[in-house]
Symmetry: C2
Subunit: 319 residues, 2 copies
């Protein structure tokens, strides 16, 4: 949550000369994106976000993310459109870093989404999966089973500092998921990190879906499981069935869920809870020197995982 | 350079209900202001900056700063206008902190101002001093001689870690300035921190003067000395006489400088250089835990101070 790379006015103006977007009217560093530097830019041609990809971004992945945004925005999703320069290039270099200019989207993210907002999310998620079918590129989900095993190994020795018995919970959960992780469900391009802060609302209408930097090819229903975890619990991390049911109902109305996808929801929700438990645990145990913000508490996802372990079947998540 | 206090959508909407500014369309934390949390807010009524004053701001000073902005903006300066709520209040409380909504100003700050931009600054600075005559409140400059002595005492033991002999330079300079610091020059309300990042340009036209949180009552010509230090050196910290001469020429055209003010410029420039040398030195020796950005190098102002010590008279600064 910072601007790591300063872009001065001379550098900015030379950069804008590559495009047909006019000249700068306003330019402010914004506190978004934990891993990149972001600027809100207004030009005589419109409003944009300028992103500079810092060292944690893998440059080899950037064309995948930008091409996906192209496909989604052109397909009618409220996703940022990468702006192409006069030579047709979206991916640029600026201040020694890979960089991209994308369209600005209005809307305000909500901290505590309502059931109506969860319903809106379900419909937009289905749209995204449907429009994403036109996207021909693939990227492995490096935060699925194999990735979880690496994170478990990297955190095992100190996990119990966060909560007694946590290392054993993680070990057992990975063994369980490895034995039962679904195979043969419909796959496609998923967002994989569709938390409330990556959705912009105007009232209950979604006007922005942002931050595609975890997008990958995986089971579509896993994206639903990520959303159930991040949208359908209250502020004390207690599950709110009505929110999940509205979400899956509206998804299903826009893009039918198969019986197998519905049946798999409890285990997919366990996997998604474990994914965020593990990454938060890793970040908690390995704070970035100089970070302004304390890493998020991994125990939120331990509690959510415990809930998903307690459900008997998918009836808790669907109408 | 961060957002220290998170404002969620519910808190924001309740806050906006106090005003006649419509509802939120977009809301982004911005990486501006080292001491406060700032958000760029767009509503159905316009664009605004929402500032939450963090612990380094003295709440007792806030009415002075907001009332000054009122006087300047109403007098025609391109300064932010504090927005008053339906009860007439500009200073609010939000998320447990003093807070204020101010108007948004377009423009881009320049890292390396041109001589033409220095000329624009001179004219706007004179306007600000003239319009500020209507402001009836006073605030002492706590970063003048007495403040410098405190900073010198607080940094003396370790100053030579930054540059050998620095503590002695500071001690000698304070003795010199204390003996000769001007008395009887015209005083008024000054910005006192008018660095290039506090001025927004559209081309060579100034469309914003921001960050009045060091404003105080002091010699008007001291404000010119601060600007000469921060605008009229090149990127290797070498003085550019043409820039200073354009700045003072345009100031004088809009608001006449007296012979005494011109004569005092070399010593006022020494004082201003010492002020930024001392605050940078203090911040360098006392880094904020968790700060993302390294404190600015105090030696820049040691070099500028050496220049001002070398001038024979004000002819270097004026036409």
């Amino acid at each position: 949550m910072a601007v790591y790379t300063h872009v001065d006015d001379t550098t900015l103006n030379a950069f804008l000369d590559r495009y047909d977007v006019g000249t700068a009217i306003s330019f402010k560093g914004i506190a978004e994106g934990v891993e990149n530097s972001n600027y809100l830019l207004e030009t005589t041609g419109g409003r944009f976000i300028l992103t500079l990809y810092e060292k944690r971004a893998n440059p080899a992945d950037l064309p995948y993310f930008l091409n996906l945004m192209d496909v989604l925005a052109e397909g009618g999703m409220p996703a940022p459109l990468p702006i192409h320069d006069r030579k047709g290039e979206a991916l640029q270099e600026l201040a020694g870093r890979p960089a991209c200019l994308i369209s600005f989207l209005s809307g305000v993210s909500v901290d505590h989404p309502s059931a109506d907002q969860c319903a809106s999310l379900g419909a937009v998620l289905a749209d995204m999966h449907r429009i994403g079918e036109a996207f021909g590129e693939r990227r492995a989900n490096d935060l699925s089973l194999e990735g979880w095993k690496k994170l478990a190994a990297a955190t095992e020795a100190r996990a119990d500092e966060v909560e007694a018995g946590l290392a054993a919970v993680i070990r057992d959960e990975i063994a369980f998921l490895e034995a039962r992780w679904p195979k043969g469900l419909p796959t496609g391009t998923i967002h994989a990190d569709l938390f409330p802060d990556n959705i912009l609302f105007t009232g209950n209408r979604i006007t922005g879906v942002i931050d595609f930097y975890f997008a990958c090819t995986d089971m579509l229903a896993y994206d639903i499981a990520v959303c159930i975890n991040s949208w359908c619990f209250d502020s004390s991390h207690t599950f709110v069935p009505a929110k999940a049911k509205r979400l899956t109902e509206m998804y299903d109305a826009a893009k039918s869920l198969s019986a197998a996808e519905i049946e798999a929801l409890p285990i997919l929700c366990r996997g998604a809870a474990l994914r965020f438990l593990l990454t938060r645990l890793y970040d908690w145990l390995n704070p970035v020197p100089g970070a302004v913000v304390r890493a998020k508490d991994p125990r939120e996802y331990l509690k959510k995982l415990a809930f998903h372990r307690s459900v008997r079947d998918a009836a808790d998540y669907v109408v």
